[in-house]
Amino acid sequence: MNYLSAIDTYEIVDVLDAVHKINASDNFNGFPVQINFLRNFTVEGIEPFLEYHSLSGGLQPSITFGNYDMIRQEIMDSTSHLFHDSPDLVVLAIYFDIYLPDWWKVEWSSDDVMRDLVSIYVELSKKTDAIIALNTFIPSFYPEYGIAGEAERHSSYDETLKLNQLIRKFVSTNSRQFVLIDWERMVRILGENDSMDYRFWYMSKLPFKSKFLSYYAYELTKITRALKGKTKKCLVLDCDNTLWGGIVGEDGIDGINLDPNTYPGNIYFEFQKKILKLYERGVLVILCSKNNEMDVLDVLDNHPHCLLSRSHLSGWKINWDDKATNIKILAQELNLGLDSFVFVDDSQIECELIRKLVPEVQVYQVPQRLYEYPVLLDRDGLFDTLTLSEEDSNRTEMYQVEMLRKNEQAKFESIEQYLETLSISISVHKARASEVPRISQLTQKTNQFNLTTRRYSETQIQEIIASPHAEVLSLSVSDKFGDSGLTGVIIATINEGVATVDTFLMSCRVLGRNIEVSFWLTAMKVLERQWGMCTWESEFIPTTKNQQVRDFWKNLNFTEVSEQQGKVVFEFLRTYSKPDSVPYIEINEE
């Protein structure tokens, strides 16, 4: 049995086959991602697996490997190709036996080794803005001193555990650029037999078996997926036999299984715990169930063991309509792409329906072996983001406010009339240091209202802010229903009187209120106060997701200058007249 569904495919012929098929299909259009390895051992075996997981995750990978055991040399070598093809992810892969071949005969200390490792990490971070993946080390499987006990001796096992803890600490305090691939944990999950390839280790310095390599590749893909905005945002759950055992409409609120002290209620209880954890990380939780709304809400409100309550939900569709239609409506209401949805249901028919009619949605069926259910959403890491920002945990609240707004909207005759009553107020200011994580996250996650879809790490945003020739402006929006937080970013550069808009993006949460126009007019004012009157240049770089902003620059009175391979360049001369300001939006600039 394999709990890691993500690496169910690890046999090399199957993996190569799948890679070939995806690459050959006409309609696959993956987001390019550059992954460069710096390593001290033979890690090339990972390539087919990394291609497979990347392609399966909607990414088109390009992978390079630095020279064998030349990590420091490559970092020092300014001509190394490693840094020239501007990687998105640099994987530093260090195998301990090669790094410290004398470990078995000297008394090494984790502190000394860590000092040396940190010097590598720091040098590397000076050379690249890319996200850097580090690994922990694999503690020895068998005790060095036999049953006589290691506790009072200096053991390599002990030092390795301490060293791994130091590496974890380093990553968590430097999470702007570093992420961790925890080999120790991976080996614990897979076991020695499925991880270690002693044959190829002694023959060719390749220490890992296919399962481990596939798992390693999958963990790396979690990072690139988050980096390229492929993270799932919304969890849609069925109710009967999904949130609890049994059918509430037939068994009644007292007859369903959700008791943490009995089987199988304890399984559903455990699953609900996992949902709450995801909710706390900012995942939007939604119910979609063929049921009487009253029955379901009664369980949420009144069942003594139901952990999930109305306040955790960003919405629900509890009715007798087909679920594909319901999900499409939800996507519209929440302004989210269908490919950011994950759907969980116990019924094979419902799962198949969604797979067929809404193939963008990731579908999970409640497993036949019910005891595998609680880890179902943990292992694939589909909701993972690179950093956990404070806004994430507020997100559900903001979407609830969004639903409230939508309901009000229905009461007015014209949209303008409605917007006037909202008391919209925006604040535009130069990005503050504390906003860097959120801004970086917005560049990575925003797909629809994003004119250029340029993804930036936190380090890169900091560099832009520090540059004398560039500015980052952030937008916050509030109205009578609540505060939407930081929901828009403009990045512009200046060069001899010509200002270029590098990035213009807004979160879907604040669309449909002409806020983008006010944001632009205010940004222009703020920047021209600093740079003087400018000629403005801007671009639209099309993706499959941002068609709604194709005419955005034209609507702001820009004229089209050129079009090349879909990318359109616009300009706004000093003589052009600005678009009208939006009367019902109050502007605060700082």
Partner: protein
């Protein structure tokens, strides 16, 4: 256990990323550029996974042509029927 010879050719074709049509009795690292030391490891793993055999250390070093692969598979009680 019995397999079709085409299956063996397909395994090689996938591992080396070439068309199965170009694989003959004499195919070896000399005739296929893609057959380097790294892909040789993939070939070993692929053969073991596909045919459910475990090659000995000697066999791992020996199988440097299509003919030799067939021989080694036979030593492991795999017969290959030609189509």
């Amino acid at each position: 256990m019995q397999f079709q010879e085409n299956e063996l050719k397909a395994v090689l074709a996938k591992v080396f990323g070439v068309s199965a049509d170009i694989i003959t009795e004499d195919t070896s690292p000399d005739s296929i550029e893609e057959w380097d030391s790294l892909r040789h490891m993939n070939l070993i793993i692929a053969l073991e996974e596909y045919f459910h055999v475990e090659l000995t250390d000697d066999q791992v070093g020996e199988i440097l042509s299509y003919k030799l692969i067939k021989l080694v598979l036979e030593e492991n009680n795999i017969t290959l029927a030609s189509a």
